[in-house]
Amino acid sequence: MSRRQVHLAAHFPGVNNTTVWADPRSGSQIDFASFTHLARTAERGKFDFFFLAEGLRLRELKGRIHDLDVVGRPESLTVLSALAAVTHRLGLAGTVNTTFNEPYELARRLSTLDHLSGGRAAWNVVTTSDAFTGENFRRGGFLDRADRYERAAEFVRLSRELWDSWQPDAVLGDQAAGHFLNEDAIGTVGHRGAHFTVEGRFTLPRSPQGHPIIIQAGDSAEGREFAAATADVIFTGHGSLEDGKRFYADVKSRLARYGREPHQLKIMPGVTFALGDTEEEAAENAADIRRRQVGPQTAIAFLEQVWGRDLSACDPDGPLPEIEPDLTAGVSQGRVAIKDRAAVAAKWRALAAEKGLTIRELVIEVTGRQTFVGTPRTVARLIDEHVQAGAADGFILVPHLTPGGLDEFVDRVVPLLQERGVFRTDYTGTTLREHLELA
């Protein structure tokens, strides 16, 4: 029996503390050459797609712009469209928010990307909660949580109506008969919903994939249901084996409700990795990366997010502060809010006391870790095992360096996955839908 095939994607690392910008090998986060390098490396590795996040407001801490992590990025779809010129098969996925966009305009941009890339476009559908981000947009901060998902669902439905509104054979270009378009080939969209009222005609023929691939990120019950109903790929954080299996089973079980088969939704956790020639060396590399991801100032900033106070007087290599968290004041904006800061603070205190950790050691301990650590052979085996065990259909790799952070993975791990017979040795299709076996 043939083994389940692994799907791989590359995340362009950016605005968060996982990117080690202080590394001498760390290049520009904004030059197009950096995007080209990472995308071409992913394509050399026969990856399914390249993934680009978006930002709509710079993050702030204590009322000032957060300055410790990489800041700044270009507009996602514009970069992806340019990457379509320097790659040939690689899928091009961009995060674009439904809260501060309008369906007619965004559906048109995504269709344009699908045309200009020959069928390689994907849209990671996200929503934004905060009025903080809304301050950059006409609409301002205007939707509560439930409405945001409802708007997102209606947004995607309406986009599909627009993408479907031209018949596949609409453009005839019959010079002799004078028919540029097929008669009756362009339908009219008349949509009236809770969030959108759109009537008229779309401005583009049906794109190579029909619909760009829909990716959904997020883990809430609403998010899982939304993904089961509409997404082709789900981008999750469930990278460990047991956690991954639970999530995988739950999400795939929801598909039948929408008349869909399990293979029609690919589950791809975002993961990090650290390699070495030996297991020991890999573990050392992993520890070294973690230490550089959490510099002294970053450690204090993490603590401030939980404590709600200015802790700049604390020594990052000293113990946790005696002072109690101020639960009335949030100090961080534009990043995922920490729920129940009192409980988090208590847990951190207990952990630091139990293990005798300094502030920086504690933050390193509690803020995630590399998913896959080991020799290339170990990492290839782990990835394969996760996929065969039903913990994932593949992974979105988040390197810690720009732009060369994927080079070693592609050079050393991909050939071993190919040797195991679980990863393509060349593209068999031209569209992302084909790479994902959704065609």
């Binding site: 710079l58 300055d67 469209s81 010129a85 309008e102 941009r109 344009t112 010079q175 540029f180 100032q297």
Partner: protein, 393 residues
């Protein structure tokens, strides 16, 4: 010897004649492919043109003033122009790329960072042609605002000057705010904001990032941009203008204005009117051109195929590139600094421009023989401005 002219070409569909797609050299089935556009823009670059513009709108092309028509014998459909320009940027090296993006239904923040991204991707060759959408059928694609019916023909010869219409005035006021916000966002990162200071752990110097705190009648934007300051600092803004209100808009907000005189005398009068408003804006004249030995015959055949004589807001030129060169130099003496030529049919009329016209002008020492600058601002002789926030220090 003449002073050098600036030459741009406006790309749209198969050319500016509605029947252009029926020319033997046209490739109507390829209009929705990247390869088609790559061929056109690399040809324009081969001809050393300053820039190409790419048309766009948030609705289908139509022969009716404010509704889609039912015609299937003309090109219908267009790509998002900013994304198309980005797709072309890595395939070119020196030519400027100026997509149209609407200011009416879009978010100024999105447009500003899209154009800034294009400037980064192209190494400083980005422009933006902001355009208002006064049309009700486009508003219904968004369903957010009621638009009074426009019963007057826009962008047509003899079309009324709509400057007095309060709805149109609002659209231009909104467009002005959109460009103002884009420019503030483009300045909101000073050039040297990224410091990567390892000892203090700071990636940026946040004193060099600025909230723009824009509050206007139509929207407010906090800022700063998410995109660092781009190679040109300020990408080039170019506006098409036919009447007093858009002249005022262009003079206040644009680096380049495209105007539509129909004679040298009209050109002189328009230049005088625009110059009263701005001493600095570069004035380009738009011309629809059918070129070559059989130019008039080609246009006549296309008119016949379309069932009507070509109607355009810009003057229509038919003739040999020698005559066109003479006309351009005559209008240059009237104060026009450059031309945005709209090829009647591509690729044929584009080839005539890139090979014939440029050679003809070069023979009269009126056009470049190599690109003399690496950015669009450089080609247009516009300095790279410092961020207003840096100046304010």
């Amino acid at each position: 010897m003449s002073s050098p002219l600036h030459l741009a070409v406006a790309l749209d569909g198969a050319g500016w004649h509605p029947a252009a797609w029926r020319e033997p050299s046209a490739a109507p089935r390829a209009l929705f492919s990247a390869r088609y556009w790559a061929g056109l823009v690399t040809e324009a670059e081969r001809g050393l043109l300053d820039f190409v513009t790419i048309e766009d709108a948030l609705g289908l092309q139509s022969t009716l003033p404010d509704a889609p028509d039912e015609r299937t014998d003309q090109v219908r459909g267009r790509f998002d122009a900013v994304l198309l320009a980005a797709r072309l940027a890595p395939l070119t090296h020196r030519i400027g790329l100026v997509p149209t993006a609407t200011t009416t239904h879009t978010e100024p923040f999105h447009v500003a960072i899209g154009i800034a991204a294009l400037d980064h991707i192209s190494g400083g060759r980005a422009g933006w042609r902001p355009q208002v959408s006064a049309r009700g059928f486009e508003a219904r694609h968004f369903g957010r605002r009621d638009v009074p019916p426009l019963d007057q023909v826009l962008n047509r010869p003899g079309g009324a000057d709509l400057s007095a219409d309060p709805h149109v005035r609002d659209l231009f006021a909104e467009a002005g705010d959109a460009v103002r916000v884009a420019r503030l966002l483009w300045d909101s990162w000073e050039d040297d904001a990224e410091i990567r200071d390892v000892p203090t752990g700071r990636f940026v110097d946040r004193d060099k990032l600025h909230h723009i705190d824009f509050t206007g009648r139509f929207f407010s934007v906090k800022g700063p941009s998410i995109t660092p300051r781009s190679p040109q600092g300020q990408p080039v803004v170019a506006a098409l203008a036919h009447a007093r209100l858009p002249y005022e808009f262009a003079a206040a907000h644009a680096d380049v204005v495209f105007v539509t005189p129909h004679s040298a005398d009209q050109a002189r009068a328009i230049v005088a009117e625009v110059r009263e408003l701005s001493a600095d804006v570069r004035i380009f004249a738009d011309l629809v051109v059918f070129l070559g030995d059989d130019a008039a015959g080609r246009k006549a055949r296309l008119d016949e195929l379309d069932g009507a004589e070509l109607a355009s807001d810009a003057a229509v030129f038919t003739g040999h590139v020698r005559e066109l060169a003479g006309l351009l130099l005559e209008w240059q003496r009237a104060g026009i600094q450059g031309f945005r030529l709209r090829p009647g049919a591509v690729p044929y009329d584009l080839w005539q421009i890139t090979s014939g016209l440029t050679a003809e002008l070069r023979g009269r020492q009126a056009f470049r023989s190599r690109y003399e600058a690496g950015t669009l601002r450089g080609l247009l002789g516009l300095p790279r401005p410092a961020s207003r926030y840096a100046e304010a220090r």
